[in-house]
């Protein structure tokens, strides 16, 4: 994680003076701001929304924001691990949809156990294949998971007659318990985020992710199981995405076939806004949670205030906001990484 120390004071920005410890005060401050930039922005936007947006500070509205993003937030959780290693997983949106279709099919054809296990097993195998291609065959994660995105979507189309068959979870199936109500989805997401945080900060596996993302060669020289860890990280991401889709199918009571398009991008955006470096090596689960909530709050505000002006206004605001956040993020990163 500490591979970021500057090597020379002769950088293009003379304002940064490197002291003997290798870190300036400016770097420390921007380092904290960059790590927790998402959280800082979330607090600012949240307070502003409570103050200026009528009806925002309402318990029902908070519930709606939380429950509406509970399961999709899990995609960002899995994505955090992948991006920490310097990789990317574009297949999670399709896997989310496929997981839902498999779960709904399973609930109708085999019962609760099939509904839960089938998507998890398929997703894990899928992740294993992607991880092996990336870690062992050394193919670029962007390309492998892009292919995975198309493949998973194709598989979904194949088992649903080109998407025309929507499998319904039978009424009264015990599988519906999982995603029912408001608090169960929210609590599930919170628990999984906490487990994710523990996995990242308190285990050998989690620390290896930081090392690999910081410098893969150094991690290899340290004797870390780089290839195995990288395979596992894609298995983890795919399995979480499949599980999220499965839980979502329980909530929607059906395997909706045209769901999940573009979700991987929202997940990546949440992770980046949360302060995880796209190049890997630094980031946190707390930051990702803040990123997810920040995007959700912004989406909520855009819905309230801009829907009446048409889709173009909403899209413009969304794009503008993302651009501003990435700009701030990049600026902070640049200061921190000089030269």
């Amino acid at each position: 994680m500490s591979t970021l120390s500057p090597t020379s004071a002769a950088g293009p920005d003379p304002a940064v003076n490197v002291d003997v410890t290798g870190e300036t005060r400016l770097e420390r401050i921007t380092g904290i701001a960059q790590q927790q930039g998402g959280l800082v922005s979330l607090v600012i936007v949240f307070v502003a929304a409570c103050a200026f947006s009528d009806g925002f500070a309402d318990w029902g509205n908070f519930q709606s924001i939380l429950v509406g993003n509970a399961y999709t937030s899990l995609l960002a959780l899995g994505m955090t691990f992948v991006i920490l290693t310097g990789g990317i997983d574009l297949s999670v949106g399709s896997m989310f949809a496929l997981g839902g279709v498999l779960a709904a099919w399973g609930a109708g054809h085999g019962g609760v156990l099939v509904a839960i296990l089938l998507p998890l097993v398929v997703a894990a195998l899928f992740g294993l294949l992607q991880g092996t291609l990336i870690a062992k065959a050394r193919l670029a994660p962007f390309i492998v998971t892009l292919a995975g995105m198309l493949f998973a979507r194709g598989l979904l189309q194949a088992i649903s007659a080109e998407g025309t068959d929507t499998y319904l979870v039978p009424k009264g199936s015990a599988f519906l318990w999982l995603g029912d109500g408001t608090w169960r989805p929210i609590l599930t997401a919170v628990i999984l985020f906490v487990l994710g945080g523990i996995l990242l900060m308190r285990t050998r596996f989690g620390q290896a992710l930081f090392a690999i993302g910081g410098s893969e060669n150094a991690a290899l020289l340290m004797g870390l199981p780089v290839a195995r860890t990288k395979v596992l990280v894609y298995v983890l991401s795919a399995t979480i995405a499949g599980a999220a889709g499965m839980l979502n199918a329980s909530r929607l009571q059906s395997g909706v076939t045209n769901i999940g398009v573009g979700y991987e991008l929202t997940a990546i955006a949440a992770v980046i806004i949360g302060g995880t470096l796209l190049t890997g090596g630094a980031g946190s689960i707390l930051g990702t949670a803040a990123g997810v909530l920040l995007l959700a709050v912004i989406q909520n505000l855009i819905g309230v205030h801009l829907s009446q002006y048409g889709s173009s206004a909403s899209d413009l605001a969304n794009g503008l906001f993302l651009a501003v956040v990435v700009l701030i993020q990049t600026t902070l990163t640049r200061v921190r990484r000089l030269p």
Partner: protein, 367 residues
């Protein structure tokens, strides 16, 4: 140091790529019921173009607030929520939203609205948001026939009635939702099939460009067409039937593939106008003349397609009238009276052929 700058470049590339991909998804999300060019909400207020009721099912199934189990309210004193399913970059959606907004304004009703941009997940959140924001009645244009269960369940638990328009949801009328207002999709397809028979009196091979899967519209438009062809036009043979997601670019691509594998195609039935416009591009690119070598029939009645009908490029076009405002608020008013509203209101759609297309364009009846 070399590593750092390389990383920085990589990061810029990935950020730029992600932004581009976001923009691309944004564009492709507008793929549904219609499409084409300029959104012309102006036609929303045209009285000649207003929706007319064709049938309301059997007379017995009328729904009132008492049978539904909702509280009596006066629409003028409450907030009504409208959930639009897809981007208003699509003329059908733009006209629909405009019509609802205009009618609410005309009646002095407070309206709040959301757009789910073709995302079922988002539409669930939209509906719940509007309930949190204080909406007491909802008009929903569903993205999908399934998948809105959580939002509908919450509305039901809070005794907030939902009127569905333009697509159906699975569930029971006057219980899970008030009812449905929309086109007779199978009927539209039947008219298109009859037109195809007229366009190709000598018979021949035809192709179908299907809409987005997972909703009742595309299914009914496929079934209605194939049944009518099988029943009354034995000399027409459907040799290709593929989905093109109600999207113009996809329509063009799929049509190119169909023309390669079946060069003897004589007619194309596109389940919306956008795909029809894409198919026309593909036909031209293959060196054939649409309207002469290959007959194209579409559904929706968008301005671009009706222009093609007037010019003889397309054979005919069956309308899907998106001006839901007046009928939707009428249904809600009736719902809160002792009279009740029918639970299945089917609108009469126009039928544009070479004889009336130019007149409709001149009168501004198309959107």
């Amino acid at each position: 140091m070399a590593l750092t700058s390389k990383r920085r470049t990589a990061s810029v590339v990935v950020v730029a790529g992600t932004a581009l991909a976001l923009a691309l998804t944004g564009c492709s999300k507008s793929a549904d019921d219609s499409g084409g060019s300029s959104p012309t909400g102006g036609a929303a207020g045209n009285s000649a173009a207003a929706q007319q009721v064709q049938s309301t099912g059997s007379s017995g199934d009328s729904c009132t607030y008492t049978t539904y189990g909702a509280d009596k309210i006066d629409l003028k004193n409450v907030t009504v929520g409208f959930s639009q399913s897809e981007s208003t970059s699509n003329p059908f959606r733009a006209t629909e939203t405009q019509s609802i907004t205009d009618e609410a304004k005309a009646q002095g009703i407070k309206l709040i609205q959301r757009n789910a941009n073709a995302n079922v997940q988002q539409q669930n959140t939209d509906i719940q948001d509007m309930i949190a924001q204080g909406a007491k009645v909802l008009i929903v244009a569903p993205e999908n026939s399934d998948g809105l269960a959580p939002a509908f369940a919450q509305a039901k638990a809070k005794k907030i009635p939902i009127l569905t328009i333009d697509r159906t949801v699975n569930g029971s009328a006057c219980s899970d939702f008030i009812g449905f207002i929309g086109s007779d999709f199978a009927g539209q397809a039947k008219i298109a099939a009859q037109d195809m028979a007229k366009a190709l009196p000598d018979g021949g091979n035809i192709a179908i460009l299907q809409g987005t899967s997972g909703n009742n519209v595309a299914e009914a438009r496929t079934d209605g067409f194939t049944k009518e062809i099988a029943a009354s036009s034995p000399n027409l043979k459907v040799v290709a039937s593929q989905t093109a997601n109600f999207d113009q670019a996809t329509g063009q691509k799929v049509m190119e593939q169909i023309l390669q594998s079946n060069p003897d195609i004589k007619g194309v039935y596109a389940e919306n106008d956008t795909m029809a416009l894409g198919a026309i591009q593909a036909i031209k690119a293959a060196g054939k003349t649409p309207g002469k070598d290959i007959q194209v029939i579409g559904i929706d009645g968008t301005e671009d397609a009706v222009k093609d009908v007037a010019a003889g490029v397309m054979f005919s076009d069956v309308e899907t009238n998106p001006r839901f405002g007046p009928l939707a608020f009428q249904a809600l008013t009736d719902f809160y009276s002792d009279k009740g509203t029918p639970t299945n209101i089917i609108i009469a759609d126009h039928h544009f052929t070479k004889d009336n297309a130019q007149e409709a364009l001149d009168n501004g009846d198309v959107y």
